[in-house]
């Protein structure tokens, strides 16, 4: 049970922090249509967050609420990967970060439909259609930027180069995920790693982007060792819950 809770958090923290990052953008998009679409993705992700945290707090059975899990942990207790906390440097970074995550997320939710855990199967079933839509959105934009103007090509190549080092961590196993894989509850994502890179590299190549050559991938998020961005994300996100403890909103 401890492992399942930990696994749920590890999964949902990605959605939370990416949703928070996308939430920063609302009202500041390059045009109304992508602004609306990105907000949609944020909404889907935060919807998933709530379901996962609710399930976790149900398992905890100790009055912990979804909001306690979202807002009242310390930085070292968040288990999201480094990828999702990277900043909204420009639209190219936003799209590349999203695409790198979406391809993973679709593979993940697809595999999670085979989980031995009924609740997780239901969450996966609900999420898979959304994830497919997200991947289509970010993939389409990646193509537009890669094969658009020289400027957009250069910017998106820069984003790909900078964010590539955060992709491998998506597939790292933690003690909890290992236990969940053994129990048939979690899919073994390492087996889908090759498929992931094939898919991503395929899109990059067809859109004339280079695949970065990387000797060393970054990791640490799943162990709660985040980038220095994370503290600022949390300071803002947690502000109300910290400043007004124990209140209902």
């Amino acid at each position: 049970k401890e492992n399942l809770i930990s696994y749920l958090l590890e999964t949902a923290d990605n959605y939370l922090i990416l949703g928070q990052r996308l939430g920063e953008l609302c009202g500041h998009g390059p045009n109304l249509e992508p602004d609306i679409a990105i907000t949609n993705i944020a909404l889907d992700l935060l919807g998933q967050v709530r379901s996962f945290y609710q399930y976790a707090s149900q398992l905890k059975d100790d009055k912990t609420t979804e909001d306690d899990l979202a807002f009242l942990r310390k930085e070292r207790e968040y288990k999201n990967v480094l990828l999702v906390e990277q900043p909204n440097t420009d639209f190219a970074y936003i799209i590349v970060r999203q695409y790198f995550f979406d391809v993973y997320n679709k593979l993940f939710l697809n595999a999670l439909q085979q989980s031995a855990d009924e609740t997780l199967r239901a969450l996966a079933f609900k999420g898979i259609k959304e994830a497919a839509y997200h991947e289509r959105f970010s993939g389409d934009w990646l193509k537009r930027l890669g094969d658009g103007t020289e400027e957009s090509h250069n910017r998106v190549q820069q984003a790909v180069n900078d964010l590539w080092i955060y992709t491998d961590e998506l597939f790292h196993k933690t003690d909890s995920s290992r236990a969940m894989i053994e129990a048939g509850i979690a899919p073994d994502m390492l087996q889908l790693r090759e498929h992931y890179y094939e898919k991503v590299e395929n899109l990059l190549t067809t859109t004339t982007l280079n695949i970065p050559e990387v000797e060393y991938f970054q990791k640490g998020g799943k162990q709660g060792i985040h980038s220095e961005h994370m503290g600022r994300i949390l300071a803002e996100m947690q502000y109300m819950q910290l400043a007004y403890p124990g209140m209902r909103w």
């Binding site: 928070q20 998009g29 109304l32 930027l145 658009g148 803002e236 209902r248």
Partner: protein
């Protein structure tokens, strides 16, 4: 002769046009319309669209700090709805023969206006409640009559807008209710928000009838069905009892029920402040326009990329044929 014919022609077109409006039929983009009708509609619809887009900013300011997941999701969805409203309204405006780029340019240059209420800052979470309750409340009162306005695309856009706005208003009121049923600190936060948003909300319903231009023409075209003062009275009459339920005090010492008129009497509005904000001197005028301009300018390369890509795709298709 020719000249005379043309004059006759215009006169008869104008008569048909007036008759259509009188018969409550819709004017559609392809129909003939007087130039003034077109211009007035471009001005009003674009102003309305801009208000939706600029209006995303004060509320967007609290998305990252919403105090619970449920509220965060609701706020994101609300701000997204406003983007959607902007989209309908810009589309309606474009049918009058003006491009979205031109509309944005007029917003960014300060030529076009947007609702002055968005030039106030959102300082606490309670402001999100107060905006939903008061600002959306006043907006609905302004907008419901527009569901029957004479210009078809505008009327249809307003039907969708109004439906969502009432949902937003209920949501805002519900935030206020939670605060007022919460701790003393929360209730004080709600009272403070009411204090700051009350008068600007009254001003949202426009200058007094005496100071208001365009009213007669707008009445005829069903861009207006009641005067600003009537709308304001309606808003006050509707809102005061809601404040009572919350247990909050409206920041107006002159406010009291008038048995004779069946309405609330209320105090003098500080029109000096209103005009200062309209003229661009509100606390957030510069900040709001900067935010819009930055979003647009920083997004230029993205839009160019999308255009370039679409062109390439078209050419490829042609070559493939």
């Amino acid at each position: 002769m020719e000249h005379r014919d043309k004059h006759l022609d215009t006169t008869s077109l104008e008569q048909q046009f007036d008759a259509k409006i009188a018969a409550d039929e819709k004017i559609e983009p392809k129909d003939w319309m007087p130039e003034k009708y077109r211009k007035t509609h471009i001005r009003q619809i674009s102003q309305h669209a801009h208000s939706e887009i600029v209006g995303m900013l004060p509320e967007g300011n609290w998305i990252t700090r919403a105090p619970s997941l449920r509220r965060k999701v609701a706020l994101l969805a609300k701000v997204q709805d406003e983007a959607g409203h902007g989209l309908y309204l810009y589309s309606a405006c474009e049918t009058l023969g003006i491009s979205r780029e031109q509309l944005y340019e007029d917003l960014h240059s300060g030529k076009a206006k947007y609702s002055s209420i968005f030039n106030y800052p959102t300082l606490t979470w309670a402001d999100i409640g107060a905006i939903g309750w008061l600002v959306d409340g006043a907006a609905i009162i302004n907008q419901v009559p527009l569901c029957n306005t004479s210009f078809g695309p505008y009327a249809r856009a307003m039907v969708r807008v109004c439906k969502e706005e009432s949902f937003h208003q209920r949501q805002g009121y519900e935030i206020m209710l939670s605060l007022c049923n919460g701790s003393a600190e929360q209730k004080q936060m709600a009272q403070d928000a009411l204090n700051r948003w009350w008068w600007p909300s009254l001003m949202m319903l426009g200058p007094t009838d005496a100071a208001s231009t365009h009213t007669e023409q707008s009445m005829k075209w069903k861009l207006k069905r009641k005067t600003n003062d009537e709308l304001r009275q309606q808003f006050i009459d509707q809102t005061v009892p809601q404040a009572d339920i919350l247990g909050l005090t409206i920041p107006d010492n002159d406010l009291k029920w008038n048995e004779e008129t069946g309405h609330y009497d209320f105090g003098e509005i500080d029109w000096e402040e209103f005009w200062q904000v309209v003229k661009g001197h509100g606390p957030m005028n510069k900040s709001r326009l900067d935010a819009r301009r930055n979003a647009w300018e920083n997004g230029a390369w993205v839009r160019e990329a999308a255009t370039a890509y679409a062109q390439k795709q078209n050419e490829r298709k042609k070559q493939a044929v």
